[in-house]
């Protein structure tokens, strides 16, 4: 076994070699740094800081929405095009709490009162989207396992039904969702600081970044450190062998589907407060970003999904500032570019 005992990887030589190794081994970081650097040299540093934070905030929210879909696809090879409906559902559930049930707390100028409105709103969005997700898996997804064409037809149909149901319950009009008092406005960075002094950072965006990072951290912990996470990763790689070891992968998948729907709901509720207006079809509009993110990141990869979402958020904001007419093209352009470079996405999980 002499030759097999050591798994020696040759160390790259020289600066160029190390650069190449970094590009190949950490394509997500490479792309992120590249994008931020290019943008930095194309605009004023203050603008850059504002756009970067905003891009991160958008990325964090898109990550919440996309993470569930990437796992559903990675684990069970199920294409759920109704994922956007759960984003809408979460937005309306959250809005109901903020606008109708806890209106008083949301309007007060106290952090604690606002928290007492925002947390239940996010929690309610999570629960409603999760529960409907449970029903949806049993009724709609379960009969069409293993058949992509049927999955597309059935989930698009399911999506239409869910969005119509939202209009039945909440009415056909757009609903304004004012942000809670303490989340409006911006922090002002003191003028005395060099370069970025005087920059105004919207509070809500900072909150979104923090919440997104917290969820990413939690998910990474579950996936990397717990037994459930080991099972999920194993299931993404080889479903049959997970069953051969005695685990019921359908149950695992149901759990992941419900968690994914709940996270989509959470993302939707966050988005509702970000845009301050919601429509039943907002999920459909966001699905384009979501699909780009999961393909870009590598199907089934949480880490890839996170970096994909951040990249999409950043390019949207940077290009939107530099050349607004190209903003919509930029997202898809990014995906096309990445796929030409790495056809399996940034951090591939499924071997193609």
């Amino acid at each position: 076994m002499s030759a097999h005992d050591e798994l020696i990887e040759p160390r790259p030589q020289g600066a160029l070699g190390r650069f190449r190794a970094f590009r190949e081994e950490r394509p997500h970081l490479f792309l992120l740094v590249l994008m931020m650097l290019v943008a930095f040299f194309m605009m004023d540093p203050r603008t850059w800081v504002v756009l970067t934070i905003s891009g991160l905030a958008m990325g964090a929210m898109v990550f919440l929405m996309a993470s569930g879909m990437t796992l559903t696809f990675g684990l069970m090879n199920v294409l759920n095009l109704a994922h956007g409906a759960f984003i809408s559902l979460g937005a309306f559930a959250g809005a109901t709490v903020l606008v109708h049930w806890l209106n008083g707390q949301a309007g007060e100028a106290s952090v604690w009162a606002n928290l007492a409105a925002v947390l239940p709103a996010l929690g309610f969005a999570l629960v409603v989207a999760g529960l409907i997700g449970l029903l949806f898996e049993r009724l709609v997804i379960k009969p069409v396992y293993g058949d992509h064409l049927k999955q597309i037809l059935v989930t698009v149909g399911g999506s239409i039904i869910l969005m119509e149901l939202i209009q039945v319950v909440w009415g056909p009009n757009e609903i304004p969702v004012p942000r809670p008092e303490t989340l409006t406005g911006a922090f002002l960075i003191p003028e005395s600081l060099p370069v970025i002094g005087g920059v105004a950072l919207e509070k809500y965006r900072l909150v979104a970044v923090i919440l997104g990072l917290a969820v990413y951290g939690l998910m990474t912990w579950v996936i990397e450190r717990t037994r459930t996470g080991v099972l999920i990763r194993a299931g993404v790689e080889d479903r049959e062998m997970v069953e051969v070891h005695g685990y019921r992968i359908r149950l695992l998948f149901l759990g992941v589907f419900v968690a994914g729907s709940a996270l989509a709901g959470l993302g939707g509720a966050m988005w509702a407060m970000y845009r301050e207006i919601i429509t039943a079809h907002m999920g459909d509009e966001l699905m384009i970003s979501v699909i780009v993110v999961i393909i870009l990141g590598g199907l089934g990869s949480i880490k890839g999904c996170f970096y994909g979402a951040v990249l999409v958020g950043l390019i949207n904001l940077y290009v939107g500032y530099l050349e607004p007419r190209l903003a919509a093209v930029a997202t898809v352009g990014l995906m096309v570019g990445v796929l030409m470079w790495r056809p399996q996405g940034l951090i591939p999980v499924i071997k193609v």
Partner: protein
């Protein structure tokens, strides 16, 4: 022959639209190592997959310890104490060696003593404990595959061609591991093409041809009877030696 732990009677099975098994009758004696021999395409692997519930059974029955397990879902069959090492080994290459083992220890934390026994059997697993299993060599992957199957005491091991594509030194290590399992009176059903390996380990033997078992008996009888070998295994046998 001791009592059977597993018996297949008249089992027919399909993979997609193809009819692969045509009435397999097979007895696996408890506490013995049984070798399933046969040419490529005879249905050996399909027989193992059928026992695990991974194919569509169209007739006959599979009984494990007297219970009918025909057509039961794979996880339920596994939980009865049957471990399966497929020909592809089924290693989770993105998981570490440790995580592969955690997953295989279905009923909870791994037993320290048993793990040490496994490390003694297969030292490379200890060495690469926290490395991705995908980085292991072919032989080490096979060690991991067998280690996963025995991390908890099982009633029956189904192992599909463990020696395929491995260097002779590693095949020797594997044979040593199987010897130890035999001493522990673990029931094993081993699919093999390597007749030397089979002869060394096997107590009973069954030979398959064209989706059915055409001979079953004691390995010693088959090993001594060259004419029988020639009839059952054809010219292919010489090539395996």
């Amino acid at each position: 022959m001791s009592e059977s732990i597993l018996s297949l009677s008249g089992v027919s099975a399909n993979i997609d639209q193809y009819h692969i098994l045509h009435g397999v009758d097979l007895e696996v004696p408890a506490g013995e190592l049984t070798v399933l021999l046969g040419r490529n395409g005879a249905g050996k692997s399909t027989t193992l997959r059928t026992i695990m519930g991974l194919t569509t059974v169209t007739g006959g029955s599979v009984r494990f310890r007297g219970d009918d397990i025909t057509g039961q879902p794979t996880p339920r069959i596994a939980r009865k104490g049957i471990a399966f090492v497929p020909e592809s080994m089924g290693i989770f290459s993105l998981l570490t060696v440790r995580e592969n083992m955690i997953l295989a220890a279905v009923s909870g934390p791994m037993d320290e003593q048993r793990l040490n026994w496994i490390f003694d059997l297969f030292p490379p697993l200890k060495k690469f404990w926290n490395r991705p299993a995908g980085n292991l060599s072919g032989g080490q992957k096979q060690m991991l595959a067998i280690a996963r199957a025995v991390i908890e005491p099982r009633e029956l091991l189904l192992v599909d061609e463990p020696t395929k594509g491995l260097a002779p030194a590693i095949i020797n290590d594997l044979a040593g591991a199987f010897e130890q399992l035999k001493e522990q009176r673990v029931s094993i059903l081993l699919v093999e093409q390597n007749f030397n390996f089979s002869r060394r380990l096997g107590q009973s033997v069954a030979v398959m041809n064209d989706g059915a078992v055409v001979y079953s008996g004691q390995m010693a009888e088959l090993a001594d009877n060259e004419e029988l070998q020639h009839d059952l295994l054809g010219l292919g046998l010489g090539a395996h030696q």
